[in-house]
């Protein structure tokens, strides 16, 4: 937070976020993305981790409208 003391003028050039700071959060975000997209978009369709049809039926309308193949 070195910028806090500087009070930069409004026309300051954007300062990039260091990639080292982005990396761990990027891994976390990507994992979350894959898991969520799988459960919303594919679980109990082509493949199933949980038996039954409840997950599929619950997100049914969302799956259709968000563009995933549903059944």
């Amino acid at each position: 937070m070195a910028t806090a003391t500087l009070k930069p003028a409004v026309a300051v050039a954007p300062v990039p976020v260091p990639l080292k700071a982005v990396a761990p959060w990027a891994v976390f975000g990507a994992l979350l993305f894959v898991v969520v997209l799988y459960f919303v978009g594919a679980e109990q369709g082509a493949t199933a981790l949980v038996s039954g049809h409840e997950v599929h039926e619950f997100v049914h309308d969302g799956r259709h409208l968000l563009g995933f193949p549903c059944h």
């Binding site: 910028t3 954007p14 975000g29 969520v36 082509a46 309308d61 409208l65 968000l66 549903c70």
Partner: protein, 239 residues
Amino acid sequence: MMMGRLLSRGMLAGVFAALLAFVFARVFGEPQVNLAIAYEAAQAALANEPPEPELISRGVQAGWGLLTATVLYGAAYGGVFAIVFSCVYGRFSRLCARPLALWLAVICCVVAVVVPGLKYPPNPPAVGDPETIGVRTAAYFIMLGLSFCSAMIGVVIARHFAPRLGYWNANVLGVLLYGVLIAGLSALLPDVSEVPADFPAQVLWHFRESALGMQLVLWAALGLVYGALAERVLEPARA
């Protein structure tokens, strides 16, 4: 901790955008889903098939189910959007937070929704053979992955040629490369043609319109809201 704040704001903006998209889908999408289900039921009755048992009521599917799916989808894309934004901001682009967020939302919507949707458009219930769900799901996610990868290659090439060609020409080259790559790669994927012959064209069209509209609402709101939130984190003097 700045990155944590950027990511959490991305997911928050995604949830908010998803709430707006839910309202849109509820108003414009659900009537088409219901028409498609009515067609499906009529076809089953004609074939003397017993009606499918309702595991989860239509009311729950169109309400809490749709809301949950949309909010999870919004939060997931909001998070990824924040990560892409954090990599691009000040590094690949000199734009300030708000215009950059809106531009990125446009690009992400094209790469993640519009282009995959041109190959495999959203389908209402009653369209699609349950026997082929495995192939269609695989093809859809491969298309999504190819679109992401082609966009990544476009960015890398644009970055590489920027010093030699200038920013404008290099960016045009990057977009062109993305278009050529994804057009060529998607032609290799199988075509799906499973709309029943007598399925009402009007319902199919309106359903796809509302599915696209829902995504436009989601990405527009995500870009606008995230820009304002990221500005407070990155450019406190401006906010």
